[in-house]
Symmetry: C2
Subunit: 159 residues, 2 copies
């Protein structure tokens, strides 16, 4: 049983942004790609989708990048996973279009798996993005300079 790689990458992008939410400069795709060894093109699609879901706001050009649209403490992990997973079709009979199982009309499996999935998501519903990265936020503040922040290297320091 697995979540999709899309959800995995989406969570990593959001967690990275959450860990850097108090940083002056926005997070860049390049720094996440470097940090996680994920291709930039794949991350670009993920970031675009997260923007469309209202989770990230992005700015273009020099010094541009992405930020969380709201505080990490207000972003629910269960809600994110519901948005990023393509489906929760645990077995074939969940999808009426492809279902060939002749047991379906009398079978209780679908109902049981739906209940199990509900319990799975209920755990995630109790967690925010801030809960996931609490120690990382501290790390991001302390080791700010050591992080591969592409945008920062190209612009003059503020203040």
């Amino acid at each position: 049983m697995r979540l999709t790689q899309w959800t995995d990458f989406s969570l990593r992008v959001l967690m990275y942004c959450a860990a850097c939410e108090h940083r002056d400069l926005p997070v860049t795709i390049t720094e996440i790609a470097d940090s996680h060894s994920i291709s930039r093109s794949h991350l670009t699609k993920v970031v675009h989708q997260l923007g469309a879901h209202g989770l990230l706001e992005t700015t273009r050009g020099r010094g541009g990048g992405m930020r969380l649209c709201k505080p990490a403490a207000e972003i629910n992990v269960g809600a994110v996973v519901r948005q990023t997973e393509t489906d929760f079709a645990m077995v074939e009979c969940f999808d009426a279009k492809i279902n060939q199982c002749t047991l379906s009309p009398q079978c209780h499996l679908k109902g049981v798996l739906q209940q199990a999935t509900k319990s799975y998501l209920a755990v995630l519903d109790g967690v925010t993005l801030a809960d996931l990265v609490a120690p990382m936020s501290n790390r991001a503040k302390t080791h700010k300079v050591a992080m591969p922040v592409t945008g920062k290297a190209r612009t003059a320091p503020r203040g």
Copy 2:
């Protein structure tokens, strides 16, 4: 989020056998293959594995087939799924061999997803194979002749 097709087929084989557990003749791979439009070779592997897990006993030759090793009411669905799923590696960091996520040491995601998976399986732990097929058992008794029972057609009636 999905269970593997292997688990899907395993559950269908076990449920079919559970529905026929009071039938004289054992269930054949051919009848399950016909009923579910699944290839015989794929089902043969699934049945072999279920036999190795101590869930099915198989007999060869004329009138041969498979039966549940114990009553359906004693076969726990959670235990079956734990045996048939290759893993519960919800995201990359669950597998230390392939994990490239640099957030891992400070990240709480793994623990949260493990807790969610635990809740998922807890629901299945409360269900037996008999619970899944209760109405089907009645159907199997009533419509015994209509079912494509290959073995039965080849042998003389008992008693």
